[in-house]
Every structure is written in structure tokens, then in C-alpha cells.
Amino acid sequence: MKKMEISEGDVLRVEGSLVIQVSKGEVTISGGLHGEGEKVEIPKAKSLPLEALTDAVIEYKKEEGGEIEHLPERTIPPEWDSLVEEIIEKKPKTIIVMGQVDTGKTFFTTYVANSLLRHEMKSAVVDTDIGQSDVGPPGTIGMGIVDKPISLMTDVQTQDSYFVGSMSPSGHMLEFMVGMKKVAERGLEKSDLVIVDTPGWVFGGPGRALQLYGAELLEPDLVVALQRENELEHLLKSMPSQVRRISVSEKVRERSKSERSFLRQETLSKYFDGSKELNLDLEKVRLERCYLGTGEEINPDDLGVEGVLHAEEILEGLVIVTESKLSEEDIQALKNEYGKIIEIKKGSEKHVLVSLIDENNDLLSVGLINEINYEEKKLSVITPIQNGGLVSAIQIGSMKIKPNGEEIGTVRPGSF
């Protein structure tokens, strides 16, 4: 490892892949304090600020893409530190961090949580970026406690997560709101305060609704608005909570649609890496968030049409699972008899994103359905967890994803 002497107040930009060990003195990385003997690994392509709190000696080892350079001045705006001081003084319980996409909300949350930890305040962080979850599995709202310094939000150990079932809150507002409230409440039980990193969807009716009702539900003591110009003012006008406007760091880079898509795939692929098939008994494990499994099972032979593998009568009509799509005439005949018909073609369940829930209604993991055997009432799912005995329920999501992380489709609401 190479050695570098730095003086109190020096600022470095450290970019992964890089391993840093503090040999002498104290430094912060992303605001997190690291003393003598502590080692930090910076992942590839992540660029973070290192600040020397005292004269210090660091040792480092560069790997692929690794870089370390002196900067002429601090990159953390002074207003961030003023805000931290204000939080220490006023001790708010719930903080919402609001901002459009690519405004550095996650880094800001990391910095504030780390800085508060230096003053012995333990924060719960709620990550609502369900497409590229840093905390918790993909497609979920995650919560973790910052009880030791972190370089990145991904370093936080997940304490709780809630399955939303998609890569965006669009069309999933109910799950999103319930999840955000539940994990924030649980976070607050285990910490001094909770910091909610909200989605970047701030425009249009649904975006406004998401932010405003979300804020009303969480009842924050402080709203931190990260904005480049005045793009959040339309929301802030309706906010009864105390609002602190913070400008976006010039270092924040905007990502393209294709870059986001690539990052989502990478997150998903990493999550499912090493996953195996888990077989579950549908006599013991219930299905949630779908029509299937909520009705009174009836004998398919009694329907008078060929090719039906499973049938159940529901309040709205009939759910049927078929070998291949039924003819218009058969569907019409069933409609005349039962009303609404939900036809599920066998095999259409493959790759659907689901969550696996335990008996306390807590999320164990997410998974991808491999197959449902309707005759034997078995469901096989690709998932990182291997103990099927813990699973009490499967919640159906809205995306179809291959285990390599490739998104291959969506599930039409009401079709399952």
C-alpha cells in the first residue's frame, strides 16, 4: 500500500476501486469518521470526499479505476453543516429530503446521518428509490440504521423493507405510501430520528400527490428541499412543516435513461446472483395482492369448456387458469354464467417479481416466480433465501425480470 501524509483541513477526492487505511489521525469519508487503524473500501466508479480532521497519514491501494487527488477546497457546501448543527440543536424526529432526480439526495442523507453519528445521534434512513434500492432488495422501500460510519448508503445494513412490487411508484401509490409510513415508523423506534430520502418524482398530478400526501402522512418536523433553482417551490408552498432550502452540489451528475436502466439491471443481477429455486406449498403459503387464491375453488370440468386447469369463483366473477387462451365463444359463455372472467394463461407467471413474507408479515426477500403447478398447488421461486419454512405469504408484483436482472415485461393490473 502507498502512504500519503495529509494536513488538517485537506480535502481529497477518492474514487474506487480503492482501499484506504487510516494509519494516523482522523479523517471523514462522506462525513463518516474514521480513526487510526480503520479500513474503508470504495467501490468502483464511486467518487467520495475525504476530509482530514487532524494531520493524518493514510495508506491506500488503487485497483481498477481507482484514483486519489487533492482538491483545492471543500466540496461539501457549508449550509449542509449548518443544517447538521440545527438538527443537533432542535432534535427533529422525522426529516424528509426532497428533490428531483439526480440532485444528490442519497449522498446528502448519507452525509447528514454520518455527521449526526459523530455527535452520537443515531439516524434511521429510509430509501424510497425502489428502482435502484441502496437499502433493501430491489422493488422495495428499505430502512437501515446508521450506527457506524458509512461511505455509501449501500453500506447500511437493512433493518426492514416493504415490497412495492415495481421499479417506480407510478401505479403503486398505495403500496408506496403504506411502505414508506411503516418502515419510517419502525426506523424511529430504533433510532433518534428518521431521515426519509423521497423519490425524485415532483412534477405533474401524481408527482405532486406523492410528495404532498407522503409528507402529510409522515408529519415531518423538517423538510429539506434540494433544488437547483426553484423546481420544488410549487410543493413547498403547500408544506406546513419547517422547510430548509439547500442548493444542489455542482458535483452532482445527471444520469441518462439508459444509464438508469443499466444501473437497475446491475442492482437486480447482483441481488439474484447465487439464488436458487425454492419450492413452496400453496396449501400452506397464501398469495397476496392478486385475485388468484382468493375465491372458492370449483371443479374445472364443471365449467363446460375444455383446457381449464384451475378455476375459482370470486365475488367479481371467475378466475381460471388455462393451457392456452380460450376462444371468444367460451369466454362469452363463462361471462354469461359468472360475470367478470380473469383468465390466466399457464406459464404467464414466469419471471414475475414477488416478495416472500414471514408469519409476522415482514419481508424475507424478493424473488422471481419460476412456475406455478396448479394441479399440485406448488409454486417455485428463484430467490436468495433457501428456508421455505419461513415463508407465510407471497406478494405478487408488477414486473417481469430475468435472474440476470433484465426487465422483460410488466404484469397488467388485475390480470392475476
Binding site: 412490487g165 401505479g171 435513461k257 436502466s261 392478486c290 385475485y291 394463461k345 426487465e407 393490473p413
Partner: protein, 142 residues
């Protein structure tokens, strides 16, 4: 989430169904379109009721049961469509007033159009998601 969060899902599906059903009947399509617009202006917060109502805008009627009807769309044996207000049905003849005649589209192997006859040209796209949101351009099983 595979449960629908609103009745807009039903409305989309109903609209796709009526478009398919009446694609060759421009008079019916025109009536559906104007009634849809009226319904949405009246009750934008109830897509389920719009969905339940829109399918009843066009109702097939027997020739012997025309007395109470006001506006009709008539599909002729040669696939032309006539729409108009009902006057009478006597001696085997249906009489309408204030009518419009719609001819079915004609297939042409090729054609030449003089520039002075052209008012506007539009490109008709069939793969818009691939162009605008390639990451969401999923293959769909029919």
C-alpha cells in the same frame, strides 16, 4: 401489485374493445368518441361508470323496432355506412334525414398524388415505445 388501483384499467380495456368492434363503422366511432368526451367532462372522477356506459352508446336494433330511435347508423351490404336521423320505415324502405355517407377504405397497389392536391402529410408510426422509451419496449405475448 396486480390488483387494479382504479377503474381506469377497465376503461382502457373497454375502449380497446369498442374500437376493435366498430373500427369499420365510422358513424359508430364518431358517436362513441363524442359521447366519451361528454362523459369524461361530466364525471372525470368515475372512470368505472364511463367504462360501463360507453359500451351502450351503440346498440344494434331490429328494423321492426325503429320508431323510438332518433339517430341511426346503417351498415349497407356493400360495407358503406349511412348515418342520419330516423324519419320512417315504410314499404320496405328506411328513410333518414341529415345524413352522412361513409365509404370503406379502398385498397390501392400504388398511387401518384400531385403536390397541389396535398394538404398535409403525417408519418404513421407503429413502434413508438421503442423510439421514446427503449428500456420499456418489452415483447408482449398476444
Amino acid at each position: 401489485m396486480t390488483l387494479e388501483h382504479s377503474d381506469f384499467q377497465d376503461l382502457f380495456e373497454k375502449l380497446m374493445q369498442v374500437i376493435e368492434e366498430y373500427k369499420d363503422n365510422p358513424a359508430a366511432m364518431s358517436a362513441i368518441s363524442s359521447e366519451l368526451s361528454k362523459l369524461y367532462k361530466q364525471i372525470p372522477i368515475y372512470p368505472g361508470i364511463i367504462s360501463m356506459s360507453i359500451g351502450d352508446v351503440v346498440e344494434t336494433v331490429d328494423l321492426d323496432d325503429l320508431e323510438e330511435r332518433e339517430k341511426l347508423a346503417v351498415v349497407l351490404e356493400d360495407n358503406k355506412v349511412v348515418s342520419g336521423e330516423f324519419v320512417s320505415f315504410e314499404s320496405g324502405n328506411l328513410k333518414l334525414k341529415n345524413c352522412q355517407l361513409f365509404r370503406p377504405p379502398e385498397e390501392l397497389e400504388e398511387t401518384e398524388i400531385p403536390k397541389e392536391d396535398i394538404q398535409q402529410v403525417s408519418e404513421l408510426k407503429s413502434d413508438i415505445l421503442a423510439e421514446l422509451w427503449p428500456s420499456l419496449d418489452f415483447e408482449v405475448e398476444e
